[in-house]
Symmetry: C2
Subunit: 197 residues, 2 copies
């Protein structure tokens, strides 16, 4: 490398981002240097702001800039529905769809005996508390359709049984999905849950 120390260090740090490797980090850094005023300086400033202000909502685990996030403070969203997701990225994905009008609870992962992640690590006690304090009538388990996700869903279902209505996302063929490209499990689930027209 003929570039100097700071540029090398920047490439090394950028390569630690998910989705970027050493090669794409080099490309990104060259791009940043070329677009200094448009990209590099604003990006640096924004990162500083976010580093100073971003925090997890103490209630639901969402990422925002206040101790309690916008969704938790909005009275409009207190409709008794609580959607349980694994991760903030899943919450954002639900919000983009715009279909859900209630509140969220971000677990921050899934139960895992191997990684020693138990209910305490996953904000599950807090979830149980919220059922009463927020007058929740329905808990929608929107966990990933993986083994860990489904194990966690079963555990939560056990904890909340009889206290609240429990639902989970429907499983089936994704919109625009081609049967030939779907796995057997999805086709089986879609067939078993078939609807009359």
């Amino acid at each position: 490398m003929s570039s100097t120390r700071d540029i090398d260090a920047l490439i090394e740090l950028m390569a630690k981002l998910p989705g970027l490797g050493p090669r794409s980090a080099r490309r990104a850094v060259l791009h940043l240097i070329r677009k200094r005023a448009l990209l590099l300086t604003p990006l640096s400033d924004l990162m500083q702001t976010v580093a100073a202000t971003a925090r997890e909502c103490l209630n639901c685990g969402n990422v925002g800039t206040a101790d309690i996030c916008d969704i938790c403070t909005s009275e409009k969203r207190a409709n008794g529905e609580l959607c349980v997701v694994e991760d903030v990225a899943d919450l954002w994905a639900m919000e983009r769809s715009g279909v859900f009008k209630g509140r969220y609870h971000v677990l921050g992962g899934t139960l895992s005996a191997l990684d020693a992640i138990g209910p305490q690590e996953l904000r599950i006690p807090r979830l149980v508390d919220r059922i009463d304090t927020e007058g929740v009538t329905e808990v929608i388990l929107a966990l990933n359709a993986t083994i860990d996700g489904q194990t966690t869903a079963h555990y939560i279902a056990d904890q909340l049984e009889d206290r609240v209505r429990l639902t989970s996302l429907a499983q089936g063929v994704p919109i625009g999905g081609e049967l030939d490209y779907l796995d057997d499990g999805t086709i089986t689930a879609a067939m078993q849950a078939r609807k009359s027209l």
Copy 2:
């Protein structure tokens, strides 16, 4: 999006980096927020430093932190060989291989009638100057093996003819390459330039 304005703005800026789209930018920003002390703050600081110090070498076009880069100032590298590359990324790739001990000249692109990029835009006049002032004896055209790259190589060869020894990188089978996966042009070039064992 339930995240607040700064976080959204950061995601939007990150998505402008080459190799990142909206989805990977969201993942990267969540990762950054989680690794605030390890990644987000150092990254922001480094970007600020680089934004303040990075500049193009006035002589060769390399990116560094001085008006004239380390390679151009190093007397060790004044061995009469000058390697012409399209882009700083190509210079870095050559430096990683460690095979070349001379100096570089970064064109900053290729000639293109469509995009109105002529010799003046490409530091070609500066290249011609350097032949005399730096006592260059050999110019190695290490341009990409694309049509634009080869057009540019021909133009430079025309300009420098009779003034200096001109060479270009060998074309052939890449190390570890499998014939079945190579295009016809590469196989033809490798066959025509075959060597006796």
